[in-house]
Amino acid sequence: MTDWQLLAPDEDSLALADTARAQFRSLRGPGVMRAALDGSEPGGWETVADGGYADIGIPEELGGIGRVIDLVVMLEEAGRALLTAPLLASALAFRTQVAAGVHREDFRRAPAGFGIAEGVVGGDGRCRVERVHVLGGHGGAAFTLVVKGPEQVWVVVVDPGAEGVEAVGQETLIDPSRPFPAFRLGHETGVAAEEWRELALGDLERVLAGARACVAADLVGIAAGALDGAVEHVLQRRQFGQAVGGFQAVKHQLADAYAAVERARSLVYGAALSLGEDAGMAARDCLLANAVAAETAVRVASLYTQLMGAMGVTFEADCHLFLRRAHQTAGLLGEPDALYLAAARIERRISR
């Protein structure tokens, strides 16, 4: 069996996707998101953890099951369902811990936080970060942070209750259902030696590659969910005496969106498969998957909103929920242009 056949999910993956889709849908992502805009706490971690979803993609020796491809298949379902439970944050935290070799034993006990910021970590493990947005930062469990300095990168695992860690700024505004609060780490914030690593700046993309694949999978799901919603809408909605979905201009926009979603999904699967292989190629593949998935999610959610017409700006419509989720998630690990730039630099280094 040659490698490329892995691009077709196997029976286990498909069964996982089906189960996840049904269960995540039962958690009513859109409804919970709408309630979160009114201030209620989204929650939902217990259901997801009890269902074993937090174990997917974690190596067996650490007590998990499944491969990275299963993880991305599942995260796509989470994105599609607008899942509010912090499954993505946990995945990002775990993959980054493993890539940097600082993983904790308790990583699955509580929803983890994840963030990237500029700052400095001293030789004694003391951190200083002026402001870092932490995905899932409300969960109370440890934050896994990637701290970019002028010449090094550090990965640190910090407890939100540790001395020097303070919440700053207001609530998450774009998508309050996936909390993304900001924190400040004063210089008194210390991290135990086994919980941080210093890396060369050039290792940043190697460390982030797994996180990028996870974010990309979630984004593909958001795009796919938005496409489903858009198609459903244009089949129902009539204008000028026919279903809106019969207009060629609408059909072509949706056909392009479909092609874009399939392309993004291919890149995500490819990125997931490349993670175990050459680090440079994996970094490139994960950058490209992240960039394409981010653009696709924003584009399809925007199209959904536009095709909804005036209904698209009402609170009751789902399209703004997809747009909120798409924008917040697309911005997690850098804007697409910056990722394309980084990928092109890697490719030119490899090609010459």
């Binding site: 947005h133 009539r238 026919q242 698209g312 242009d337």
Partner: protein, 368 residues
Amino acid sequence: MTDVTSEFEAFLDGFLPADYAENYRRYRRDVRLRTEYQAAAFDAGWLVPEWDRGEGGRGLSVPDALAVKLAGARRRVPRLMNIQGAGVAAPAIRSYGTAAQRERLLRPATRGDEWWALGMSEPGAGSDLAALRTTATLADGVFTVNGQKVWTTQADEARWCALYVRTDPEARPHRGISCLVLDLRSPGVEVRPIRTAGPAVESFCEVFLDDVKVPEDALLGPLHGGWGVAMSSLEHERDMIWINTWLETTRALEPTLTAPELSEHQLVRLGRSLADAEGVRLTGLRTAAQRWAGLPSPASSILKLLGSESVQRAALLSLESAGARAFDDPALFDERLESLAATIYGGTSEIQRNIIAERTLGLPKGTP
């Protein structure tokens, strides 16, 4: 700068707070300032300077009036509280109203003392006016109205509604429509605001009409001639909407223009958006100039098309290039969401493209 614009600038200097330019994003939500501005500008003849002095204008020529409007846009004058009153209803009353209607309605609509809603869209019909189903039956000098309107901006706060109704069900779809001036306090009118996804500047409502009685003299324009009233008032709006679009684009770009640091590729996108803004401004002006000179001008549909794209790209750029700041500044996402609706108001981009292709390029009408 001409004399007339410097006079207008002097009026603005006198009226606006000293810190208006720096804090206009905050003043944009200042209801009192906006209300007072509209009244003061109207009283001074600056709100519709092309109208005669007796009507509350200054009798300015088209070029001078446009110069005043541009000067206002450059200064980002306060947004009117009820745009469709002064911008759509008032011109329609002025063109089609009886003497009594003009006397009673024109000034308060333009000055902002009485707000207006536009009763066009209906559930299931959207922007397709020909498909409207709300009926009005005339008997004994009174119309009895039944039906439902939707996406009616500010109907919850307006006093009047320019209500489009079907008065001749036998006629061809666009021939049997009339426009009535509906007092929204009439019995049988129920207005329900629709909650919006973001903090919308103006409310959206559903309006239910159940055996509403409207006196015959509330007919605006000819009986069964409502299509013409609608087209002429929408055209008025469409011809000037580009000034607002240009303003919205430059406003959306401001966070990016003044951002401390931008990467090269963000600068490229900023340059593209500057070209968008200039494209809207210069095409709007060129269209006005060519019409004023009696020359064929670019199809006005392109202003709508260019304008939508312009606002959308600018809002997307500002949201994406803000990086983590986007998670702290609610306006960035809200403006992005609003910008997507820009292709909807006043006809979708698809409709504009059809109009250009068929009327300007002469392509076959064809089934859609």
